[in-house]
Symmetry: D2
Subunit: 465 residues, 4 copies
């Protein structure tokens, strides 16, 4: 059934126009100032977007859905995560494949893919985590890139002994990435420093969630970025620092950029609107706000926004990682903060948080908003122009957004399978009214109205040579 979105203000990373959008099949086929509804296929569904904004479907370049973590699992599956994403205006998710250190890459890829295929209601792709780099792994990684269209790796400088690579493997992995044209996303915190600090703090009886940040202060993240950038400078690989939380880390990245390193920077919604005082909330409630890198001193927020406005930070993701507060964060981490499962779920809330605290507060404009929340993710990760923009031929992933709609974030409205909402009671202005994926309306007014399992794996071509 064709779709006509009429009367909206169409906003992309570069433009702001009054245009009607006509979608047939899965793509946008017409984009014109005035499309006569009487002159199109009579079966066309017409959405009145007068007074509304129309954005390209938002992309979250950094989510966890299936996530084994220290003996437990994150709570979402692709059905719930898709509903949450769509309710919030996000139409494409890039999930981290997170194998254990002994798993074969191909097995992990197949596992993660099979969980998404037939269950996801948004389109999706993966960053392939590289946690081993023996010959078998290398061979399979080549296959995963070349045969399966997974054009990005993920490496960890954190999570000592579990996920981090030796320097030799890191160098080799970056060299392979350069050869294949694959960008390497990286969690940049120095693993050894964290391990030692965690042990030290716990041994001193400092076991509460408020010690999570002191166990990995900003210098640990700056150290990680510096090290990754060094390796990238030596190999020529293109790198992408995920969830950069602080001045010190961003500055390390910008210093590398001055030396010619091809480095991109991601912020995530929690660091932009929350600070470390949340992790210090009493009665263990701070555990709701434990993620890594941790929430920081508030002074870092202005810095991150400034760099977003200047487009020195390219993307805003979430690092959505849905663990329950009671049964997981509290139950497992009660004795010692290093055991609190990490993550602040926000895949549903991201767009409204950034709209309210970024756009409406004047920190960024609408173009930067779309660029950071959709277009850049598409460009950097090889999805553009199929995703990330509104133009003829692109997938009809669209968000009709009411910029004036006031609402309150609440757990009861959450689709993610977790037992709390980190932003409970926050007042928002702006909300998605209609969300389409490839021409089909998947959400209306925050409710999933689509068909579960219609999401598709997006094959991507390497572009980072």
């Amino acid at each position: 059934m064709p779709l006509l979105i009429k009367g909206g203000r169409v906003i992309t990373a570069t433009d702001d126009q009054r245009l009607d959008i006509y979608c047939e099949g899965e793509t946008i086929t017409r984009l014109e100032p005035d499309i006569d509804p009487a002159a199109v296929d009579p079966k066309t569904e017409i959405i009145d977007a007068a007074g509304k904004l129309v954005f390209p479907g938002f992309i979250d370049p950094h989510v966890h859905i299936h996530l084994p973590f220290m003996g437990t699992h994150a709570r979402d599956d692709w059905a719930s995560a898709s509903r949450a994403a769509l309710a919030g205006g996000t139409t494409t998710l890039i999930e981290m494949i997170c194998p254990g250190p002994d798993d074969e890459p191909m097995t992990a890829f197949e596992d993660w893919r099979s969980r998404a295929e037939g269950t996801a209601s948004v389109d999706f792709t993966f960053h392939m985590s590289v946690v081993r780099f023996d010959e078998l792994a290398q061979r399979q990684l080549r296959q995963i890139v070349n045969d399966h269209g997974i054009a990005s790796f993920k490496v960890f400088l954190a999570y000592k002994g579990a996920l981090d690579l030796s320097d030799a493997d890191l160098f080799a992995c970056l060299s392979l990435a350069k050869e294949l044209g694959v960008i390497v996303t990286a969690h940049c915190e120095n693993a050894g420093a964290i391990d030692a600090m965690q042990a030290k703090l716990v041994s001193e009886g400092k076991t509460g969630p408020e010690f999570h940040e002191p166990s990995r202060p900003t210098c640990v993240e700056g150290d990680g970025v510096t090290h990754l950038a060094t390796m990238a400078q030596l190999t020529g690989a293109h790198i992408y620092c995920v969830h950069t939380s602080c001045d010190e880390a961003v500055n390390a990245a910008l210093a590398a950029r001055r030396r010619g390193v091809n480095i991109w920077i991601e912020a995530v919604a929690p660091h932009l609107v929350l600070d470390k005082t949340y992790a210090e909330l009493p009665e263990f409630e701070g555990a709701k706000y434990v993620m890594s890198p941790p929430l920081r001193d508030k002074s870092n927020q202005a810095f991150l926004w400034n760099q977003l406005r200047a487009r020195a930070i390219s993307t805003i993701g979430t690092d959505h990682a849905p663990f329950d507060f009671e049964a997981q964060k509290k139950a497992l981490g009660r004795d010692a903060f290093p055991k609190i499962p990490n993550g602040i779920p926000s895949v549903q809330e991201r767009i409204d948080l950034i709209h309210t605290h970024g756009v409406l507060s004047g920190r960024i404009d609408y173009q930067t908003f779309v660029d950071a929340c959709s277009t850049q993710a598409a460009r950097i990760f090889g999805l553009y122009p199929r995703k990330g923009t509104i133009r003829v031929g692109s997938d009809a992933d669209l968000v009709v957004y009411d910029p004036n709609k006031k609402h309150t974030l609440a757990h009861k409205a959450s689709h993610s399978n977790v037992d709390y909402n980190a932003f409970e009671g926050w007042e928002m202005t702006g909300k998605s009214e209609f969300v389409t994926v490839r021409g089909k309306i998947q959400a209306r007014n925050g409710q999933f109205v689509g068909e579960t399992g219609t999401g598709r794996l997006l094959k991507r071509k390497p572009t980072h040579f």
Copy 2:
């Protein structure tokens, strides 16, 4: 006569597509993968762009054409400058209005406008230099912005006693700019330092062109940027540093950006491809290479390219300022370098220089090339989307470019009215074949084929609130 550009690879700041372009009247009316020549107006002129690139018309945000300078005048008029621009693929020029310190702004504006209107063959607008800031000047500046659509100012921190503003006036000027939403472009070199250094060097008998750079070393430019940024931080004004030549100046700008200052950075072609050894050429030939800020140590070039690739530097202009070598630079400056008229003409050469030394050498990609040489100038200076991109409704300013064409830069091919070419003998790859302004072919293969005087003043709306 309609125009159909068929078979080209259409490249914008964001996209790279195989599209045909149909232009009717002055604008682009269709943009489609395949437009049937048989189905369009039979009068349509068809350009075969197979194997060619199609760019939006390039914009030079920083040129001087009518330029009184220390008792002489630059050699171009709008007829010659337009021919040079068009030959090189540039379809819009932003000229600096440069009144003397006692001139009334409105008189200057009318003078500059009248020289362009009816003579220019490219579209044009102006940056309004603010060299006095009394009440009359303020009143006229408001008129110039509001009634005449000139949405950018120019201030000088250099040229002591002639063009520079007092700090009080600079602050007030920036405050007015903030109020009006006008961006302030600025020449950031500390005037007092230069004056003193020039006097010192000349008094020591150091009078040759090779002492021009030592009279205004990089710290003088860094100082200027720091000072402008301080004033912008206090007033909230948006600023744009023209012709930034070195690491130290760019770093000062980036430091300001970290603090939240809204600052844009311009590079110009000469600093990207020439270094200070040119100004040290014997037999006074160095004078050909005297501009301000001066050509720098070569190590600054890699830094500028790195920042362009990262889009931290937004634009590439020329600071085209056409003075003759023999009759002006040599005749006037022979006794002492401070009297050498400043400028390295490159309005015709810019695009081919950047294509050859930027794109083909792998320093920047085609999107960044278009962004820096066209789109950003349009966005920053309020010309977008009329100029700076290729889309339906935009002016049909188009460049059909042969990326493989080899040619040699030479004075004999120059359209600018000067007696030398600073790049004489340089081998280029890539050349404009067809250049259109609002749907009319104005240049073919480096020759002007249009009608003189058809250029139009572009009214702009302030966007920098």
Copy 3:
């Protein structure tokens, strides 16, 4: 009468020794582990320093005593200021000579000198402020340096139209300083920015003392340091940034040092222990805490202490400027903060504040304490080794200090002629017991016990070539 200080722990900028000190006439004549009291001149006065520390007399390189300021005068004269200094362990003061813009330098020098001579009870010298630079001024400045032993200048980048120099004069003044080997101390805040901000804030009704800091934020000070450093780089002059208050200013100085500029940095006691919340105290009490550069956000303190510990900041002075709260700060500044006379008197409190908050809190060690509060001032300003250390032949300026003595700062104990104490009620640990100047005991336990007017002008030789 000879003096024998027995049993003390003698601490200098480099050493920490158990030594007895014997003073004859005005100098130290013996420095030995054990001087037999029975074997010296029987008239010798013996001070038992067992359990005490013995420091070289402290030097305050930055005080105002006679200070005309916007139609009023600071409250101290050399008698009161000397008593305050001596009570706190300071035996040498360097006062700023602050002529008006039309005064002749020599007249000003004679005026300031005559006020000190015969009244001062500490030794003294001056920084000669350069607020005009015509030919007469230059001639007299040469005389003041060469004939009168004043080997340091002071320039203002702040105080627009009153004290600041044009860039041409600043350059010329620095060039003269380089020629004469004179160091140039400088107040580095951009004058024009402050003037404009003051006018803006006042026009918005923001007239209270809490707006003093926002009228000259850290960027204004960073700008000043950058500009001074640029001029120093061009001229080769040695410079000294007085009362550096913030991260941004110190970083600007360190950046200049990396480029080879010979630059020294001074902190003053108020910035090390007070922050801007004091200037926000209600009922206009904030006016007590108005000085320039203003008290800053508390985060700057750790940074200043870190740089002191690393000896990147060389000296700790006071910028003592004694204005009454009621009759001056309040009476004159009530209507608008720009009229509040600037200054936080601390010439008496400096040493105990730094001992308590610097040494005892572990931020700096005793050597750094002596270095910053005495030795470096002597070295930088040409008083070493006559002042600033303890060795045979040096002036017998000595402080016997009880590091464990607890006391409370209070106005009633102040010797400075002002009506308040900015540190009222602060608990201190450590106090001077005996303070000698050239072998005579001038203060005991915070009381002046000497003879008024015995201080001497110290002739200095230029050392900064």
Copy 4:
């Protein structure tokens, strides 16, 4: 036999005085303007130092003498190294104890000590390298510190798999150092990066000595410093970066210092006067100039000197590591640069090189020269005031230096057991005439005249709490 040094200009890190020095036994007992030779012990040997400078004996805080390295050994023993040191004015050496990864620390300590004791003719101590950190090692390290007076550790971030510690061990080692008050000296180059780069370059056939620098570019050293500083920030340990070669590494250290890390910086003579073009000399002669960190681009030299002048860099050592050119560097490294034994011997040349290229060229003054080449090493490493200065009670380690003596560096004048002199033919101004250790003349005019084996192990107390 007592010693009287008469008529010299005595220069320390802080002072410059005309003093006679009288030494009895092993120490300085009198230091007076004029000691009457007729009034002292008639057996006194009198040295006429008129027109000469007298320095405290120089200390080299970074030498290798016994050095097993990839299957071979450095060529010096303590007899030859002592002669070389003394000939050049150096009276104390701090040698690196370099055990293999499986050696017990105590065994290594005993081995290194036994080689020095009875053979050394200068006084000596050691930095204890920590290359393993199991329980036995920890226990022995405590003994070595507490019982044997070795108050400094050395750790390697370079030399992967041989000498580098895991992050866990590095953290633990720094924590132990903090507990014991021991400073940790560190070779800061990232081991993994170097290994990978070496393999890569060699695999590409880039095997000559000119590829040594590209195998460990400046970013690798900056990375190392950043990482060490991170670990120091977390543990509170005091750190000392040895042989810092470049802008990037020093800046990383200064950035850490701004954050409060207690970090000291060492430069070594080769990096101050040689650059990487030496390692590019043809016929494999470049191998003479292979050390790590490598010789750098010449632009780094000015930066290092600037930081020395500002005393941001504390010390100048040598990293003396005496390998033969023909039999070792060439024979072993001919096939591939990673096998070239590292080191540029300069223990004999250091003082004259720094005097000529530092002091006489105006880059540093005499106080900074003494501070960097003697005093700071004594202060930082717990030898002060026994060593590092000239005062009553200090060891009579003295250098009578002729600042005007011209001579030429040459292998034939070298006492070090190597077959080449890296500075062959360099013209020097300034030379040691007399060199004493604890009151005995050990060298005259570059010739050893003392008794071999009279050097003593210096017990040191930890001071870095």
